[in-house]
């Protein structure tokens, strides 16, 4: 299955780094959003998006709110979501797990970790 990623982060730098890392591990198709609200708009307007990589701390709609919003719809209930964030406390990770994030990366990350997590999510799908 060809993957098309939605990369959500309010930092332009991080969006580029995630995009570059995706390219480095062989994924070329992605779109970007600067916050959760924009992500929801892009997601509802593009049926080819089949993987979401999102930050947590963002304006308008946070990453966690985005995940909850995605999971609340039948259409996106199974959409793979990977959270990439600076939040590494146990309570944060548990909160993400409870919101049904598929996997979790604590920044800073390497392309290898990104590949590992994407592969794990796809294997369990």
């Amino acid at each position: 299955m060809a993957l098309k990623f939605l990369v959500v982060d309010d930092s332009v730098t991080m969006r580029r780094i995630v995009a570059n890392s995706l390219k480095a591990i062989g994924y070329e198709a992605f779109v970007e959003a600067g916050d959760g609200k924009e992500a929801l708009t892009k997601l509802s307007g593009d049926d080819s998006i089949n993987f979401v990589i999102t930050d947590w701390n963002m304006p308008e709609v946070s990453g966690l709110e985005l995940v909850k919003s995605i999971r609340s719809t039948d259409k996106f209930a199974k959409l793979p979501i990977l959270m990439v964030t600076t939040r590494g406390l146990k309570e944060d990770i548990v909160e993400a797990l409870q919101a049904r994030v598929n996997n979790y990366i604590v920044k800073p990350f390497t392309p290898q970790i990104l590949r590992e997590k994407i592969d794990q999510i796809l294997a369990s799908a």
Partner: protein, 254 residues
């Protein structure tokens, strides 16, 4: 009799007056010290007030400078990423060229082998030609170059990893900025409260503290290359994937 009673009242009043004077004598130094205290404190209060106003006026500039630092680092990071992107594209081209060279060497070997098989009686001339071509030597150099390219790719990945520090520090700076703005709000409130009567309303400030929890930055963001936090995430997610959502909710219920 009536005169005596009047005198008693006069003496009683004089007694009260005397007590009042005695009280006055005791109180006057206290009042004097209060006046002295006020004399000392008023300039101090004015100084404090001026300092608060001065500090409050400088805070927007400090906040703006922090934003400038964030913007400058973001720009610099973006420029480095442009260079890394260009390097990656060049490396990709070099890799393709090196792969073509290796294929070329293979094809040349096959062609030479075929030629040698077709012309077995060249009296050692073919062997002499082979040793002069030094294909093996060139191929070793290509393999060595491929290793160097691989190393540069690794270095480029490490640069990308290190550049994530920009996002992490910008979150720390945003947190400091929020703190500064919070101090400014408190100082402004203090200045207002100093000039008005009645109880101090802190509900706005409490709301402000509450908002920090859902802010667009993580005040605890740290640039750490250690795998400790990632390992914790791995552990919790691995455990979570083996359990149902209900069980997860129950397991981590507060």
């Amino acid at each position: 009799m009536e005169n005596n009673s009047n005198m008693d009242q006069v003496f009683e009043k004089l007694g009260e007056l005397k007590s009042f004077f005695i009280f006055g004598q005791k109180v006057v130094p206290v009042i004097q010290s209060i006046i002295d205290f006020m004399r000392d404190v008023v300039p101090l209060m004015e100084y404090v007030n001026n300092s608060i106003q001065d500090s409050a006026s400088k805070i927007p500039k400090a906040a703006s400078q922090i934003n400038s630092v964030t913007n400058a680092t973001e720009l610099a990071t973006s420029e480095i990423l442009d260079i890394v992107d260009a390097m990656s594209m060049d490396l990709s081209k070099i890799k393709n060229e090196l792969a073509d060279l290796k294929n070329g060497f293979f094809n040349q070997r096959v062609a030479l082998e075929s030629f040698g098989n077709q012309h077995p009686n060249l009296n050692g001339q073919f062997e002499a030609l082979l040793s002069g071509l030094s294909i093996d030597e060139l191929e070793t150099k290509v393999i060595s170059l491929e290793e160097i390219v691989k190393k540069i790719e690794g270095d480029s990945n490490n640069i990308t990893l290190s550049l994530q520090v920009q996002d992490i520090t910008s979150q720390q700076l945003a947190s400091v900025n929020h703190l500064i703005q919070s101090v400014q709000k408190r100082l402004s409130k203090l200045m207002t409260d100093l000039s008005r009567k009645g109880p101090v309303d802190v509900s706005d400030l409490e709301q402000d503290d509450e908002n920090t929890k859902s802010a667009t930055f993580n005040p605890d963001a740290r640039y750490e290359k250690t795998a400790e936090k990632q390992e914790l995430a791995n552990e919790l997610f691995n455990a979570g994937q083996k359990t149902s959502q209900d069980e997860i909710d129950k397991l981590f219920a507060k």
